[in-house]
Symmetry: C2
DNA sequence: CCCACTTGAATAAACGTTAACCCTGCCAAT
DNA sequence: ATTGGCAGGGTTAACGTTTATTCAAGTGGG
């Protein structure tokens, strides 16, 4: 029912190809017919059928964005950045969230490939050494960029933050603020949390402290795990005077536990989060945090992917580490 | 380069149509060949080319989701709900954010139509009586559902919250808590803010108070406008003892202004927001707010759209108003 | 006046699938 | 022997574009 090039062609008694050429500004067309075609197209309110075009050009100008969950502000921000970056190039993004389920993730990747996306951006939850999903993507020669979570043993493009630097930056800030029994509420058992922990350890030893395992409390990503973890940490003596939390939600949970225990923030315990989520500055005590350049991750990943799509030949896989930045607020503002 | 039905057909010396029929479980195919086809398809790791299928079936199993901005937790939550609701039906969503720019919104709608989406979900920013964009959608017979922001003068499906009820609910709660000089930090000059204001007014008059215009302060959507608005409101005498804020960010800004002025919350001034964004309970003083059933909006809009797409005949346009719910927290917890 | 070249356009074929028919055996009932 | 029906396929023609090739007419030079 919608208007096609055929309709325009018949009206003007020219061939469909002529119409196509005019609309693409290609080939040699006289100014007269060009004008006629354009006018008729406007009159009929012609809209290109991208499905048909994609079938023959083998380009959909569509990229798949695969995220663990996009209600999370971190990923929502990335989605925003990606969408804004690719729009000027004529791309749209198909999103899919897989709720941290590796199987769902793999099946969504297959769906997106079936939809012929020109490229993929993935914050993957695939466990280490399960590379089958990526193999399938590579077989199809579909460019893809990993973000946020690197995958060991995979030669692929990656854009993310330097997580070791986050750990060091946070820990050194606490040291500067005079803390000397620094705890860490660590994240889940994956690469990122591991690296932040590593940065924390290195900063401690570099400044002559000995990392003590009882000050390192296992946890997860959410604020409830932060709450539980902090309560556990408060039971360890001598009590900590500074805590580096895996991320901002964890820090928020920890903050609740500290205040509930009747302790003062930052005077009794200073707190550093990571992520700089948008609301970090309207909390009970505004949270010092490490900014991980969230939107930059999205922008760089999108640009990287687009250049990959544009270049016929496969380029070397490229890894971009964004340097984190400290954002100081009340939760660590105290006299050394 | 990817495997096509043709490849399978040649290998097995059958016709492409036979392969197609097997893969769709249609037509009469013997068990023997069915098995052979399926086996070969698996061996070659065949993936359907959805672009080609869409061209002939005129269905992309794709819906366009158009939002003002999806870094905003409200819209991010809606996106999540929509995506999860449509996935079991085989749909994917193409998102686009238009940064509150009506022209960009219109052009994105056109792009999505050109991409042959099967339906649209839109939280529109079109000014009243600018219906051209919607006309174009209707001409193509593409089903669409408006969410959150109704458009006057348009017979279209709509899913949103009952904003008058939000205003009433919040105001009556403040009255119950013993407030008798109730202010309102209102939102931008659009329908939603108007309705919440209307609910506020009605609740006041219903309880024998006279709405006073100096207690109604104009504003916007963000926390800075909440801060500015509250400072203005504090200059009005006799000073208010309860404020209903257009939304949670505004309330957060207002909270900062109140605390900065050395006033106590909720004892001097009680505060109610609207939206129940995820972090409302980790603020300096946890915020009483009105839950607007965000994810429900996404779910219902998605379901409505899918039934519209499925039904050949055009149905009557349907409007769904979700009843809001009060979520009481510290910011209003005081003795009447 | 013929050849070569250019301009402006038409024609044919493809992209990978599906929809709508058509064909060929085979079997049972007439 | 004819008819009818059905199982198990195959053929043909779309879907709306683009790419590649071909063609007709005009133009300028020798």
């Amino acid at each position: 029912m919608p208007v096609t090039m055929m309709d325009i062609a018949k009206d003007l008694k020219v061939s469909v190809v002529t119409v196509s050429k005019v609309l693409r500004n290609q080939g040699r067309i006289s100014d007269a017919t060009r004008k006629r075609v354009l006018r008729r197209a406007k009159e009929l309110n012609y809209q290109m059928n991208w499905v048909a075009r994609s079938l023959v050009t083998r380009r959909t100008y569509t990229i798949g964005l695969l995220l663990p969950e996009f209600a999370h502000p971190f990923f929502a921000e990335i989605a925003r950045a990606v969408a804004q970056t690719v729009r000027p190039h004529g791309y749209h993004i198909v999103i899919s969230s897989f709720e941290e389920d590796p199987d769902l993730e793999a099946s969504e990747v297959d769906s997106l490939l079936a939809r012929q996306v020109d490229g993929l951006i993935i914050a993957s939850s695939q466990p280490p050494h399960r590379l089958a999903m990526f193999k399938r993507v590579q077989e199809r020669n579909t460019p893809y960029v990993l973000i946020d979570r690197p995958i060991v043993g995979l030669r692929a493009c990656f854009v993310g933050v330097d997580n070791r630097a986050i750990g060091s930056l946070a820990t050194e800030h606490l040291i500067e603020r005079g803390c000397c029994r620094i705890g860490h509420l660590r994240g889940p058992e994956v690469g990122i949390a591991e690296e932040r922990l590593e940065g924390y350890r290195r900063a401690l030893t570099r400044h002559g402290f000995r990392p003590h395992s009882s000050y390192i409390v296992a946890g997860g990503r959410g604020d409830d795990t932060g709450y539980d973890g902090m309560r556990k940490l408060l039971g360890v003596g001598p009590v900590t005077d500074g805590v580096f939390c895996y991320n901002d939600p964890v820090a928020i949970g920890a903050m609740r536990a500290i205040l509930e225990a009747g302790l003062k923030l930052p005077d009794d315990i200073a707190l550093v989060g990571a992520g700089n989520v948008h609301y970090s500055d309207v909390l009970a005590i505004p949270l010092t945090t490490i900014d991980q350049g969230t939107s930059q991750i999205g922008v760089l990943a999108a640009e990287l992917l687009i250049t990959r799509i544009a270049s016929k030949r496969s380029m070397r896989s490229q890894k971009i580490l964004i340097p984190p930045k400290l954002v100081e607020r009340e939760s660590t503002r105290r006299q050394p």
